[in-house]
Symmetry: C2
Subunit: 472 residues, 2 copies
Amino acid sequence: MPDIQKLLWPQSVAIVGASSDTRGLRGRIVQILRSHPYQGAIYPVSRSEAEVQGLKAYKSVAELPPADLAALIIPAKFVPQELENCGRAGIKAAIILSSGFAEERGETGPALQRQIQAIAKRYDMAVSGPNGEGFTNTAAALCPTFSPAMDAGDVPLLPPPARTRGQVAVISQSGGMGYAFFDHGRPKELSFRYIVTTGNEACLEASDFAEFIIDERKTRAILMLIEDLKNPATFERAAAKALRAGVPLIVNRLGASEAGARAIAAHTAARGNDAEYRALFRRYGVIESNDLDEMVDIASAFINMGERLPAGHRVAIASSSGGGGAWVADACALAGLDMPLLDDATRARIDVHLPPYGCSQNPVDVTAQAIHERGYAEFARLAAESPNVDGVILVVTGRHPRFLLEDREHLIALGRETRKPVLLWSYTRPAAVCIDLLSEAGLPLFTNVHNCARAMRVMADYRVAHEKFLKG
Amino acid sequence: MPDIQKLLWPQSVAIVGASSDTRGLRGRIVQILRSHPYQGAIYPVSRSEAEVQGLKAYKSVAELPPADLAALIIPAKFVPQELENCGRAGIKAAIILSSGFAEERGETGPALQRQIQAIAKRYDMAVSGPNGEGFTNTAAALCPTFSPAMDAGDVPLLPPPARTRGQVAVISQSGGMGYAFFDHGRPKELSFRYIVTTGNEACLEASDFAEFIIDERKTRAILMLIEDLKNPATFERAAAKALRAGVPLIVNRLGASEAGARAIAAHTAARGNDAEYRALFRRYGVIESNDLDEMVDIASAFINMGERLPAGHRVAIASSSGGGGAWVADACALAGLDMPLLDDATRARIDVHLPPYGCSQNPVDVTAQAIHERGYAEFARLAAESPNVDGVILVVTGRHPRFLLEDREHLIALGRETRKPVLLWSYTRPAAVCIDLLSEAGLPLFTNVHNCARAMRVMADYRVAHEKFLKG
């Protein structure tokens, strides 16, 4: 097995095909790499430029100092020779960002891809791609990719470590979609450890990276976008490992539709087999979703809630908006959750805080007035204590931050002390200070009600799958 | 029939229960009203304060100058007497924001609600509520509501008129949810004419407002959140009027689930009847959705596309990301859309622009390289010309604005000239300048792929329903 450690954690990176022209992809990759504080060496390889974006450039791979990783971004027809040169130079890992291989019409591209496979095997190199978009290792601040999502910009790559309860990894054949997960997760303060895009998977597959990442034990959830499983046995091994470790795999498999299947065949030469996937996914508690935002939201819920997964499907809803409570109830029913009446003792403890037009049945219509007087956290805490429920969905409005901010200490205590999962849905777009506060409190905040209900559901199902697997 | 014109377009508004304390709802309503440039008179009525937030206050309704509208925000038990006083004073319209009526446990609240109904009838007053959250008329800059979504803030209530192709109205029993539509639509540059929240609907119903709004002929789509239809015949009349006028009603009916039904009964004393609703909705081409963002996105698609609705279910997909194209294809299949292969002539016209690893079948995998060279608009235009398709979904990345901005003139021409609908999905969060440009171009931009596919589908279905209705 080639060494993925060398690929994801290189001490030095050669960019074969590097350019000074930052309008093209060959210049962008260098620009993006350099915009982050990667501590290793960066070696541009260019036949035409002596210096690339302020870095000394090398004429050829043969002239390079020792390097761990080569990123190849040159026309497809030159890739086999340069990969061979890398092998000869002792470079043990490569990512191939060029297109024009198995996904190309005709015979040339597929033949080039077979050559890559042979060379990788001969030199025992860890090779990712071709037709990928590179990867990101945030801990190393290493971004050998031309993805615009990795522009350094004003926002740090990671949210503050103090409030990070765990990290996620993305593994995606599609580069655009892989980095889209990162792009959607950032405003939700989701902390990404890796984004790995694998393209055609001529050599290394998504499952290989998944195994490496699970073995490393630093990642708490994995988002995967799969076009096909080159090797179902490899996926099965990774999925079993993940389930044993309690690391949920949240997966969308593209190509479920006929046109989608046509698209993935053209995109990464993928061929799907629906029945086989379904059976595998069911066996290993793999969480399926076909919505990008939902997948990110589910990952965030797992990371914030940790071990506190619902023991069943029974949910209490507490809402300052009566209409909002009804909307969540409908969404929970669609997600296959139950909303039993709360027990009398819990209702009595809630009723003392409610005006006569409030209602403690379930959904608990807390009313705006009671929120003004008691805040949000108290009602989630009371509802969670009901023996009739396994989790709580709290409906808030994060637009006007006052009521959340005034409830700050209680929300933080709730996030720390609750033993049942508490998920929040804000029916208005939350203010930045509210996102900040709830991130600090470790309470997952949803802006889409269906994502919130679905997250509760899949967390409950995952707990069952995990416990069943551990019992054998 | 009482005069809704007086309610939505008053020359003067009395706030009965106005307060200087802006921490409470009675102070917030005055504060919000005054933060917008409403040109009519505002008359606070307060038993305890001679001046409210800089405005002369009146001791009682009897002492008021002539007023068109009264907003009542006082304890429920005082509402009937004050409404009576309004009737005597010749005020022809009232909104009741107080809670504690039919939605309250026990007999007192429901009895109070019956008194309101009798008084409204006796004086032929247009009365909305109780238990509502007021309304907003953006054209009059009139916001008698305590909704935090109506804080003036830094963002104008409306996007620039020059790029507004039409306006939407929201009608919702729930105040929180009604204003949530506005809150979600704002960053999408959706222009709202009215947000009307109707609460318990003791007198005026959502359907009455819908009829008024359709008759006015200034609103191009209506978002409705219904807890129950007090009077199905009224709804039927409004729905028929809307369909005749080509104004889509985009409706979520809460309470479809058992717990949801419990919630709406407690919230606005609503009782649903599922079969009856379904039949009515089907008959009048009412568009159902249970997702807030999706509803807003659908409204935006209708407004931007106007008469250019798809003549069938056949969609072309053009994507710079192969994975993105496959994702859209799967979403379209789920939405019941077809993605036929493009005809040979169209494919030939597209192929000349594609590198060998691109693909013109459908989805069209344009590749990032071809986008760099030709921009986005050209591929949407070419795909739309295929006789095999009724609409186009164009997949873009709005994160890095360069490629959209460089394609500016073509995108604007595309929005103006296309005769088939073109919807855009950005798989990354779009930069503000991109939202701005596409709004100017009149091309609806989606950030959720399923909303995009669903919008195309419901537009096609609406066209069929509309044409069938006009033929009789």
